[in-house]
Amino acid sequence: MSEPFEPKIVAFVCTYCTYAGADLAGTSRLKYAPNVRIVRLPCTGRISPMFILKALQKGADGVLVSGCHPGDCHFTHGNYHARRRWMVFRALLDFTGISPERVIFSWISAAEGSKFADLINSVTEDIRKLGPFDQYQQLIKETESPATL
């Protein structure tokens, strides 16, 4: 008997906005899909593209990256730097065959608990439709080290 596919999503979020937004979603008792594993970082500027590769390497079907809206960064411009990097990295992934639908970027403020819940739901649904990232999983298998996610 095969179990229905449940996407594994890793979310890299900044502590000042999106993590606080996720917190708000929780304290407001909003229900959202349990498929996301949140990793909290000090700032979007700290979210290295290496993290995204690492998440995929460990078997993620999708990655979400989120932080403060432009102008709201706790460190004034970490998210501006991040934005440029994401744009370039996203294009690179796209060019090498990792669909942009699997790596999603968003701005979620500390007040946007419901946006957080909605986004997690919609991203989970989208990736459920895409299905497991078989091609990557095949490569992970060849390495003979387990996908630990």
């Binding site: 690179l92 090498t96 065959g97 970027f105 968003s106 091609q135 390495t143």
Partner: protein, 276 residues
């Protein structure tokens, strides 16, 4: 031939009057169409200098050799326009001081070699702007267009096939003038970001990281592509990323020694249509 002779004389003169301590150029290699780097310190060595249409390697990476420029003496170097761009990037990233570099510029059309007028990077800024406006036609790659038309699955398969051949020799890194980090991210193991084994996943990660770190810095000199022993078309990724930074941020790498590196700067109104 005439250009070669003229440059031999110039190098000898500059060495003799002490304006430069060394010149970096080309000498014959193992076959008639290969060239090796030549480090000229004496006038006899200058006689070995060759300059023809097979001198394609971008030599600028030798300038960041540890200690070479630390005595603040000047070094001359033979460069094509891409090489001049890499000097500008190295200067913008504080890896060298352009005042210490004397450029012997050259380029060729077909087999015809010609000298480029100028000695310092500033002298070539008009030429570089011109290249930016009218990139040489030779850069059109039919394969690139084919990849652009593929869907994600096909692209993944295409690159997986290419990268599966990679043997992780890091020749692409060693050959690249922009890869000067003393400790490359693939050599770090605390934490280990990239799988170091030469399985396809590790190869994929390595190549993605290499391309990312060169985005907005690569001048498309082709050193990496020629160095790759298994002929992975690295130039295609480089070209795609160069296009991305030109289209996205209007950034043509290496225009001047004071140009801000594209991923170390930002504009408040950078595009963000992809961010939800």
């Amino acid at each position: 031939m005439i250009t070669q002779e003229k440059y031999r004389t110039t190098v000898k003169e500059l060495l003799a009057n002490g304006s430069i301590k060394m010149a970096i150029g080309y000498r014959p290699g193992s076959t008639s169409d290969r060239r090796r780097p030549l480090f000229i310190r004496t006038s006899e060595e200058a006689d070995q200098l060759v300059l023809d249409s097979t001198c394609i390697t971008n030599l600028s990476g030798y300038l960041v050799t540890e200690g070479l420029l630390s005595d603040e003496k000047r070094v001359g170097i033979f460069l094509r326009p891409e090489g001049i761009r890499s000097i500008n990037i190295l200067a913008a990233e504080y890896q060298l001081n352009v005042d210490q570099i004397i450029i012997f510029g050259f380029d060729f059309t077909g087999r015809e070699v010609r000298a480029l007028q100028g000695q310092t990077t500033g002298d070539f800024s008009a030429l570089l702007s011109e290249i930016r406006e009218n990139p040489p036609l030779a850069t059109k790659e039919p394969l690139l267009e084919r990849i652009e038309k593929m869907n994600a699955k096909e692209r993944f398969d295409f690159w997986q096939q290419e990268f599966s051949r990679c043997i992780k020799c890091y020749a692409c890194r060693q050959a690249c003038p922009m890869c000067y980090c003393r400790r490359c991210i693939v050599d770090s193991n605390q934490p280990q970001w990239v799988n170091t084994s030469s399985h396809t996943l590790g190869n994929f990660e390595w190549n993605v990281v290499r391309a990312f770190h060169l985005s907005g810095r690569c001048v498309q000199c082709g050193n990496c592509d020629r160095a790759c022993p298994v002929n992975i078309p690295l130039r295609l990724i480089n070209q795609r990323m160069a296009k991305e930074v030109v289209d996205g941020f209007d950034h043509f790498a290496g225009l001047s020694p004071t140009q801000e590196p594209v991923l170390a700067s930002f504009k408040k109104d950078d595009t963000e249509t992809f961010i939800l």
